[in-house]
Each structure stands twice: as structure tokens, then as C-alpha cells.
């Protein structure tokens, strides 16, 4: 009973804050609602027996990406942004596209029964670390290369120079 209530409450708040992220006029308000969205997703991870992943979600998304986003918003804010519309004139076709996509996904989910759903609860941190260093060691190393490349790329792009 309690998990059901927790799931429905979390999903309602999640959908509300995601809608606020895509519809609010002020970009900084959007970033704050995005923080709420990401924290609620972390709560969903907790309901799904992913304790380590919930911690990673809070640490990396709410602690890392959101701070970078806030910095970017504050460094690039211009006075007109409160007056100008934040939505382009294509919002009705976009709404139709998004709604049609949602209906297609829900219809295909309706016709696909997934067999033997069992729930399994156990701590995941130790076995996740073992998995990352045995079976997933190749993507693990590749991700370190990607992070190095993105570090170099970020430094290169944010260097002061003129576009020729």
C-alpha cells in the first residue's frame, strides 16, 4: 500500500515539475524545477532497488550538472529575456507530435506483455562495483577517455579567441 501511494505521489510531482521545466518563462525557474525533477527521479530509483544509482543521480545531476547549468544561465542572461517569449511559434505542431508519440508508445506497451515480473531487493553497491570492474570494464575505460576528451574540449571551446 505504502509503495503504491509513494509511486503515484512521486509521479504526479515528477510530471508537474517536468511540465514546469518546459513551460516556464524564466530560465532560472526552469533550472530550479529541473532540480526537483532530478531529485524525484532519484526517489523513483530508490523505489526500484537502485540505491547506489540514486546517490549517483543526486551527486552528479543535482550537484554537478545543475550547478554548471546555473552558471551558464547567469553568465549568459540578457535583459530582454524576461520580456521576449521563450517559446517559438511551432508549439501547436510540437504538442501534436509529442502527443502522437506518447499514444504510439502507450499503444505498443499495451500490446506487449512482459513475462514473470518478480521483484528482488538487495543492496547493490558492492555487486555494481564488481560488475563495473569485470564484465563492464571495457565501457568503463572508454568512458574515462570520453571524459578526458570532453574536459579538453570544454577548455578549448571556452578559451578567449575571436571567430575568424
Amino acid at each position: 500500500m505504502i509503495p503504491t501511494i509513494a509511486f503515484y505521489l512521486t509521479s504526479a510531482l515528477l510530471i508537474f515539475s517536468a511540465l514546469m521545466v518546459v513551460t516556464q518563462r524564466n530560465v532560472f525557474t526552469c533550472a530550479l524545477y529541473l532540480a526537483g525533477t532530478l531529485s524525484l527521479v532519484a526517489f523513483l530509483f530508490l523505489l526500484l532497488n537502485a540505491d547506489f544509482l540514486a546517490a549517483v543521480q543526486i551527486l552528479l545531476y543535482v550537484g554537478g550538472i545543475l550547478v554548471i547549468l546555473a552558471f551558464a544561465i547567469m553568465l549568459s542572461s540578457i535583459p530582454q529575456s524576461k520580456i521576449q517569449s521563450q517559446v517559438n511559434e511551432q508549439w501547436i505542431p510540437s504538442l501534436l507530435v509529442a502527443g502522437a508519440l506518447f499514444l504510439v508508445i502507450v499503444q505498443s506497451l499495451k500490446e506487449s506483455p512482459f513475462p514473470n515480473q518478480t521483484q528482488f531487493y538487495a543492496p547493490t553497491t558492492a555487486s555494481l562495483g564488481r560488475l563495473l570492474l569485470t564484465d563492464m570494464v571495457l565501457p568503463f575505460e572508454v568512458v574515462s577517455l570520453v571524459l578526458l576528451a570532453s574536459l579538453v574540449g570544454a577548455v578549448y571551446f571556452s578559451k578567449k579567441r575571436n571567430v575568424g
Binding site: I68, I78, T118, L128
Partner: protein, 102 residues
């Protein structure tokens, strides 16, 4: 009882909200935020499939960790590009970024 389909419908809803944001936002930082929502919908899918169909295995959660890591890398590179564009063009609106047009 909450089953797999509940989580899948929730993540489909989040995904379409993100698609709507990507299609309608004029501010490029808003587009990046909508992309983060899409990544989160994917992660919910991965973790829900792992939890309900593959019990003790953890491959879905491992994949979700890689998705989060790549989202961080993407945000860093994307936002440094946004700042570089803002320094040169003085705008964050995507329809103004048309200097590649012939």
C-alpha cells in the same frame, strides 16, 4: 500493485515532455534542460526493466551509470559551446544562430 507498465508509461510521459521542450524552446539552455529530462526517462526505463525482469542482475543499472556520466560530459561540452556562442553572437536564442547560412 505497481508493475513494470506503470514505470514504462511514466517514462514515456517524461520522454514526450522532453521532446515537446526540445521542439518548442527558443533558449538553447532550455533545450539542454529538456534533453536532460529525456535522459532521465531513459534511465527510469533501464532501471525498471532491470528491477522487474532481471532480478539479481545489475546490467541495467550499470548502463544507467554510463548514461549519467555521458550526460555530464555532454552538459559540460554543450554549455561551454553555449558560452562561446554567447560571447561571439550575444544571443542564446537558436533562431539567431544562423551565421552558417550561405
Amino acid at each position: 500493485m505497481i508493475g513494470l507498465h506503470h514505470y514504462l508509461v511514466l517514462s514515456a510521459l517524461l520522454f514526450t515532455i522532453g521532446i515537446y521542450g526540445v521542439l518548442t524552446r527558443r533558449n538553447i539552455i532550455g533545450i539542454l534542460m529538456s534533453i536532460e529530462i529525456i535522459f532521465n526517462a531513459t534511465n527510469i526505463n533501464l532501471v525498471a526493466f532491470n528491477h522487474f525482469l532481471h532480478g539479481p542482475g545489475l546490467w541495467g543499472q550499470g548502463f544507467a551509470i554510463f548514461v549519467i556520466t555521458l550526460a555530464a560530459a555532454e552538459a559540460v561540452v554543450g554549455l561551454s559551446l553555449v558560452l562561446a556562442i554567447y560571447r561571439n553572437l550575444k544571443t542564446v536564442y537558436v533562431e539567431k544562430m544562423n551565421i552558417l547560412k550561405g
